[in-house]
């Protein structure tokens, strides 16, 4: 019996197990426990939630390994952690720690202005952000086993998440309607490999699981992106910047499962306390927008 580890099927497969679920940003083992108890399918271990990273400014880096290990000890669900775009040594360190997934994330300050990490070279699977289909396919070509739209992290404003998800899905629908000979030009325009473009056109979906991130802060937000066609949600600041994190976390989990049932959505949205205070996108200068990081 030959046994193969870290194959494409196992990398992509873990993301398939997370579908229909909520992945929550946590900064301490206590937060991680709250997330797990609320029904999170995985946690993202990081030093500060995006809203605090945005407020603090400066350079945001990979978290302290000790903190990540503390969170891995605290919960039985998968633990993800973030590396800077292009910072393959941070990724090597995270792999050595044994995290279950690495997020090559625009929420941290990019380490390379041209190149992303060559993710094929790693045993641990990667999730990467995108704003459109071309960016998603470039990341998959580099080895990403899961995709999330970026939204605009730390704003509590779902508008970018909606824009980007609609963008990706409508570009997929456009490819589906194309003749074979039109796909060559589509690949050129998307700046994406032809084989992946063709695969998307054939199957009507990305070849990996696609979640939404960046701006989800209520159960209704989660249900909105699920109804639009997301396969699950990342919630960053939306939980631990709300008035009652445990209740908000639980409500977002319920809303992600029953996204298509307005009666249940009404029930789970009751009496949650104040969600995180949001930011209008116009208040954020272009230079401080996180979604524009990554290429």
């Amino acid at each position: 019996m030959t046994v193969q580890t870290s194959t494409w099927a196992t990398k992509k497969g873990l993301a398939q197990m997370l579908k229909g679920g909520v992945i929550m940003d946590v900064v301490t083992p206590d937060h991680a426990k709250i997330a797990e108890d609320a029904g999170a399918v995985a946690v993202m271990a990081l030093e500060r939630v995006p809203a605090d990273i945005r407020a603090a400014g400066g350079v945001a880096r990979m978290s302290d390994p000790e903190m990540i290990l503390g969170i891995m000890d605290a919960v039985s669900i998968p633990v993800m952690a973030k590396a800077r775009i292009g910072h393959f040594v941070e990724a090597q360190i995270l792999e050595a720690l044994g995290v279950d997934y690495i997020d090559e994330s625009e929420v941290l300050t990019p380490a390379d202005e041209t190149n992303h990490i060559d993710k094929h070279g790693f045993k641990v699977p990667f999730v990467c952000g995108c704003r459109d289909l071309g960016e998603a396919l470039r990341r998959i070509n580099e080895g990403a086993a899961m995709i999330r739209t970026k939204g605009e992290a730390g704003t509590g404003n779902v508008v970018e998440a909606v824009r980007q998800l609609r963008n990706v899905l409508s570009e997929i629908r456009r490819l589906e309607g194309m003749r074979d000979d039109e796909l060559f030009v589509a690949a050129k325009e998307l700046q994406a490999p032809y084989d992946l473009v063709r695969d998307v056109a054939e199957h009507g979906r990305l070849p990996v699981v696609n979640f939404v991130a960046g701006g989800i802060s209520t159960p209704a937000d989660a249900a909105l992106v699920m109804q639009l066609g997301s396969e699950g949600v990342f919630v960053g600041s939306g939980i631990f910047k709300s008035e009652d994190p445990a209740r908000m976390a639980n409500a977002i989990v319920q809303a992600t499962t029953h996204f298509d049932d307005p009666k249940i959505l009404a029930e789970v949205s009751k009496g949650l306390g104040a969600p995180m205070r949001g930011l209008a996108l116009e208040q954020i200068p272009d230079a401080e927008r996180l979604a524009t990081r990554g290429w």
Binding site: V3, T5, K19, G21, S76, Q254
Partner: protein, 227 residues
């Protein structure tokens, strides 16, 4: 008889979280009617149920929150077949090693979560499952559980080379540590569909089909058919 057409079973897939879409696609690929189950009312008219892979901690909470526990146990008591993969196995195990409370005590086994380690230890392999024939199953294990104890009524369907148990059946309940639905493997789903058809129409495959023109329920009906 819950189905409109005898012998054409309808199989539900628990769709609260996890890879339920892959199970639905696998069932449909072999021509079996499949439907998502999120609430107890979704179980009406179902002849079998799949509990998919996912995160068992999340799935157990969603089962409890929406009152699915008792209706699923009732479905199992009626004899309808159930099949669980990975998290589905954990959710149906009578004992979960190291802590978690039992969710649906349907399989007399003790199961250990994340028994191989973390994601870096996830693997795929060719596995012999004698009950499915000589062609091995391509088995994908993702942060998979292991069955550490089996009760007297439990049949072991597959083990790894080192003897660890990864597939079992007890009466109408089947469970695997691995994910046939990720590998285009349809034989477990075909087996479930066969069991569901037999449950929906006991004459199916039992050699005692009613005469096509005889009305059911009349004197000398199905019950008295000579065998």
């Amino acid at each position: 008889m819950s189905t409109a057409r005898a012998g054409a079973p309808r199989i539900g897939v628990l769709a609260v979280q996890g890879d339920f879409a892959e199970h639905l696609a696998t069932l449909r690929s072999i021509g079996v009617a499949a439907t998502e189950v999120r609430l107890p009312s979704d179980l009406d008219g179902i002849d079998g149920l799949i509990l998919p892979g996912g995160e068992s901690t999340a799935i157990r909470r969603l089962i409890d929150r929406w009152g699915l526990r008792e209706p699923i146990l009732e479905l199992a008591r009626s004899g309808a077949p159930l099949y669980g993969t990975c998290a589905g196995l954990i959710v149906m195990a009578r004992d979960i090693v190291d802590g978690d409370a039992t969710v649906l005590p349907l399989l007399d086994v003790a199961v250990r979560r994340n028994a191989f380690g973390r994601q870096l230890d996830s693997f795929e392999t060719e596995l012999l499952v004698p009950v499915l024939g000589d062609q091995p199953v391509h088995a994908v294990f993702i942060r998979a559980p292991i069955i550490e104890r089996t009760g007297p009524g439990v049949d072991v369907l597959a083990t790894l080379d080192d003897g660890r148990i990864v597939a079992v059946r007890e009466r109408n309940v089947i469970a695997t540590s691995f994910h046939p639905e990720l590998a285009g493997e349809t034989r477990f789903h075909r087996l479930l569909a066969t069991m569901a058809a037999e449950h929906a129409d006991p004459a199916e495959g039992a050699g005692r089909r009613r005469h096509p023109t005889r009305r059911t329920g009349s004197a000398g009906g199905a019950g008295s058919t000579a065998s």
